[in-house]
Amino acid sequence: MATTALLAAILEQTAPILLAALAAMITLRANILNVAVEGMMLVGAFVAIAVGAATGSAPLALLAALVASVLMSQLLALMTLGFSADFIVAGLGINLLAAGGSLFALEWFYQSPGGLRPLAFPDIWHVPAGSLGFLPVIGPALEGQSIIVLAAFLAVPLLAVFLYRTPLGAYLRAAGEDEHAARSAGIDVARMKALSLAISGLLAGLAGAQLSMDKLHFFLPDMTSGRGFIGLAATLFGGGQPWITAAASLLFGFFGALGDRLQAFSIPSQFVLMLPYLAAIIGLAVARWRAHVRSRPAKLNARRG
């Protein structure tokens, strides 16, 4: 029973991180370091609550969240690909815009700078209790999870298939790996990058909606609390590979779920929360170090002196 509860907690903690990680992964494959995942998530979280409260419809709320975050991603695409703004600076701009914009809307429209807590909010679809009893361990853990959690885990194979089994995915990877080669094969590199950003926006929107719609039914200005960056860390740790990225996200979700429980053992939660970021730095440093060692000039044979 305790295992199931822990497993359920891990899955729930993992879902937004995993979606954020995949959002960063898909752009990384198009050679974009996407620091704007955090902002796109925040927009998704906010719009989901705002639209859900206004319409009383969960599907509409989810749809609106996705549309909003994809629009943000395309704003970033327009500035960077259309007007050659710097990807990092403009991405940070998206984060600031999302934070400032949602805060502004809270203060101005809702007169409630602390957050948005609608009195009534429609429930999103959850896996009914008892419906997956036939699956050992994993079944009960999945029961009660939102449809977005399911979508997050489904997104991993879907993206793997997209990247490695479809022409579009191959062209996207080519555009990211070698622009010159892609262009000479007639691939529209800018369009591929914009596409990767759109998919990124979609995934980030799902992540944001999961945060606000699943259980809480409210929005807080600092709701995403760095999960976009944890996702980025997971992607970098996984070198942009879908399955390794997913595994890293799961690990980070595990840390997250463990974080609260560990405080009982007087390990401060902050140190547990640091782990993803430390892992990303160390993972990158090790990968670069190995490449560095491989590219060093070889020693001469003894025959020459």
């Binding site: 620091v35 500035m79 730095i281």
Partner: protein, 342 residues
């Protein structure tokens, strides 16, 4: 003289356009909200000068912004895309606080320099990590500085919550620093930190070092073309790492001066994203230290003035956050022009 003016105008054309465009968009938004948009904008920019108190608060905003911007300028001039200003700021602030609180019994003559040096060193250490990883292994510095920001914020959160927390206060705030090492107010402006003098002097020093010393020329050469720098015998790796030490040190100093001169204690949420706004100021000033004085002042006016605008009109202060987002998004964009060259 006119030539210099035209040259300067040309150099700041793009950032000026971004600022004006953002302010114009903001004005449209404000006109939508309030009947008196002119009043709102006047307060946003000029209420800072309505009273000594307002002016003091404005200077207190400008100080950390300018220092961080100067640090960013050092790193960018050396070709390092340092987005770690926030982490460096927090590292400096917490180090100064820990030293000040833990060693409170020492004579202020010893404690004060110790606290300042501790802040600077903590920031410099945070600049050294990404620089070394970049130079020795080629690890992307954007990633490391971003990740280090969060790590430092979590670490300070631990310290301020669990180690040096003032249990009598609400929230994550440290105990007070001994008043003996507080930085004095700016003469004649009650409540304004004299740290602004330090920041302004350092802006001049930064300009002098970057543009009037051989060391600065070598640093800039390393930043603009690393292979060129190495070919003309510049120890470029050392220059770049030193530049990041200085950049981190500036961030650390910003944190130290904030704690010593403004907050007098560490508060976990003391920074309204000074790191990123400082970066914005540096980029808007086209990575020029004297220009950064202007942009930091402009930004401090907006951040501080937003509160007065909110009081006098219905416009929420977060308008500034929204505008900052827009500005950062627009700031590096270039209009696509096609002209007739084959």
């Amino acid at each position: 003289m006119a030539g210099v003016l035209i040259g300067t105008l040309k150099a700041i054309r793009a950032p000026l356009a971004a600022i004006l465009l953002t302010l114009a968009l903001g004005f449209v938004l404000v006109a939508f909200i309030t009947d008196d948009p002119v009043q709102a904008y006047r307060d946003l920019l000029f209420a800072n000068f309505d009273s000594v108190g307002n002016f003091a608060l404005f200077l207190n905003r400008a100080t950390p912004l300018l220092l961080i911007a100067l640090g960013v300028i050092f790193s960018f001039r050396a070709g390092i895309f340092n987005v770690g200003g926030e982490g460096q700021l927090y590292a400096g602030a917490i180090a100064t606080t820990v030293i000040g609180v833990m060693l409170g019994g020492l004579s202020p003559l010893i404690l004060f320099p110790l606290a300042v040096a501790g802040g600077i060193l903590a920031g410099a250490f945070l600049g050294w990590i990404p620089a070394t990883l970049k130079i020795r292994l080629g690890v992307d510095e954007v990633v490391t500085t971003l990740m280090l920001n969060i790590i430092v914020l979590l670490f300070t959160s631990y310290l301020s919550n669990q180690v040096i927390r003032d249990t009598a206060s609400y929230g994550a705030v440290s105990q007070m620093l001994p008043a003996s090492i507080w930085l004095p107010d700016l003469p004649g402006v009650r409540g304004a930190t004299s740290g602004i003098i330090v920041a302004l002097v350092l802006a001049g020093v930064t300009w002098l070092v970057l543009f009037r010393t051989e060391w600065g020329a070598q640093l800039r050469a390393s930043g603009t073309n690393l292979r060129f720098a190495k070919s003309v015998g510049i120890p470029a790796d050392r220059r770049i790492i030193t530049a990041m030490l200085v950049a981190g040190g500036f961030g650390g100093l910003a944190g130290a001066l904030y704690v010593l001169g403004i907050g007098h204690r560490f508060e976990q949420n003391f920074s309204p994203d000074y790191g990123l706004v400082g970066l914005t100021c540096a980029l808007l000033a086209r990575v020029h230290p004297i220009g950064a004085v202007a942009t930091s002042i402009f930004y401090a006016m907006m951040i501080n003035g937003a509160a007065y605008m909110q009081i006098s009109t219905d416009v929420p202060r977060s308008l500034v956050d929204l505008l900052t987002g827009l500005l950062v998004l627009l700031m590096t964009a270039r209009p696509k022009l096609k002209w007739g060259r084959s």
